[in-house]
């Protein structure tokens, strides 16, 4: 039973990741990660 849950979770996760990539979310991740994040620093 536990193994089934694991494989279901893994499959769902892979699917979500693929949908996210197809939607171009990785570009949004990049756009936010390449600018100096003032919030992360604690000044904005």
């Amino acid at each position: 039973m536990k193994n089934k849950i694991t494989y279901i979770l893994l499959s769902i996760s892979v699917l979500l990741m693929i949908i996210g990539v197809l939607q171009g979310e990785f570009l949004e991740v990049m756009q936010k990660a390449i600018i100096i994040c003032l919030s992360c620093m604690g000044i904005g």
Binding site: M17, C40, I43
Partner: protein, 284 residues
């Protein structure tokens, strides 16, 4: 020793952009589109990957705007990534790869009176994940519909340490923007650093939303710890050597177990092992 070496290599591998120190900027290459399974602030000048917790918040703060332009970005890429890593190894990246986890282990070696963490406190990290990373960034928005990265902005000590200090030293213009918020974050960082000296991995166990996410997978991940109850004499040697204070023989695959395998090495009775679940036959 082997784990320490891997922790050092991982810290360097996630932060190899030393050229940024010379250029006085942060790395801006394509690798920043890839999430890393560790709490490593992507605003750190040396970082080459994206922090999944920062990235998730960044997507969620603009979720309304994304719906308004029918883009529907709700963080599936990051959530899927966390799910894939968690399904394979659970919280193992915290024990072997995370620079901030490594820092906590180094600080704990400083001689001092030691204080254990109350067993209910680790539950707090789920509140940080839910409230600061998911709910507040979506719910509290400005007039344009954009929220704030609440965890990064008000809590994350990794951001203060890895991005705040280096960038303030490198970029003069940023220094004039230091205010109350920075004082708050530095104060919080100092509290965490002191806590790291007296308690085992306090940030990791009580606050970290990334650790909270991976911990949800510990019981079901393909990688699992295994205890042979017939061999265990409950001598507690494993417990004494566990960096997160887990009694593995009582609660195998406890959500706080970072799969460091110290206990497997420590147990003189061969009661502990680990395995990758491949088939039904291995399920125990």
């Amino acid at each position: 020793m082997r784990r320490k070496l891997i922790q050092i290599i991982s810290t360097l591998a996630a932060n190899p952009a030393f050229i940024s120190l010379y250029r006085k900027e942060i790395y801006q290459g394509n690798l920043k589109s890839i999430c890393v399974p560790i709490l490593n602030c992507h605003a750190c000048p040396l970082a080459v990957g994206a922090c999944p917790i920062g990235s998730l918040q960044n997507i969620l703060i603009s979720v309304r705007a994304s719906f308004a332009i029918t883009q529907y970005h709700i963080g599936l890429y990051v959530i899927g990534f966390l799910g894939v890593v968690g399904s394979f190894v659970g919280k193992m990246p915290c024990g072997w790869l995370c620079p901030f986890g490594f820092l906590q282990e180094i600080f704990y070696k400083i001689p001092s009176p030691k204080i254990s963490i109350h067993r209910a406190m680790p539950l707090l990290k789920y509140a940080f994940l839910l409230i600061m990373v998911i709910v507040l960034p979506i719910l509290i928005v400005d007039e344009l519909g954009y929220g704030q990265t609440w965890f990064c902005k008000f809590i994350c000590p990794a951001g203060t340490l890895e991005a705040g200090f280096p960038l303030i030293v490198l970029i003069e213009d940023l220094r004039s923007q230091i205010g109350l918020l920075f004082s708050w974050k530095v104060g919080l960082l100092v509290i965490f650093l002191i806590w790291m000296i007296v308690s085992k991995r306090p940030f990791c166990r009580v606050v970290c939303p990334l650790g909270a996410t991976f911990s949800l997978f510990n019981k079901v991940s393909l990688f699992r710890m295994v205890v042979d109850k017939d061999k265990c004499i409950e001598c507690d040697m494993c417990y004494k050597n566990c960096p997160t204070g887990v009694k593995v023989y009582e609660d195998t695959n406890n959500p706080d177990c970072i799969r460091c395998l110290n206990c497997v090495k420590t147990c003189k009775y061969g009661a502990l092992s680990f395995r990758f679940v491949k088939s039904k036959k291995l399920e125990q």
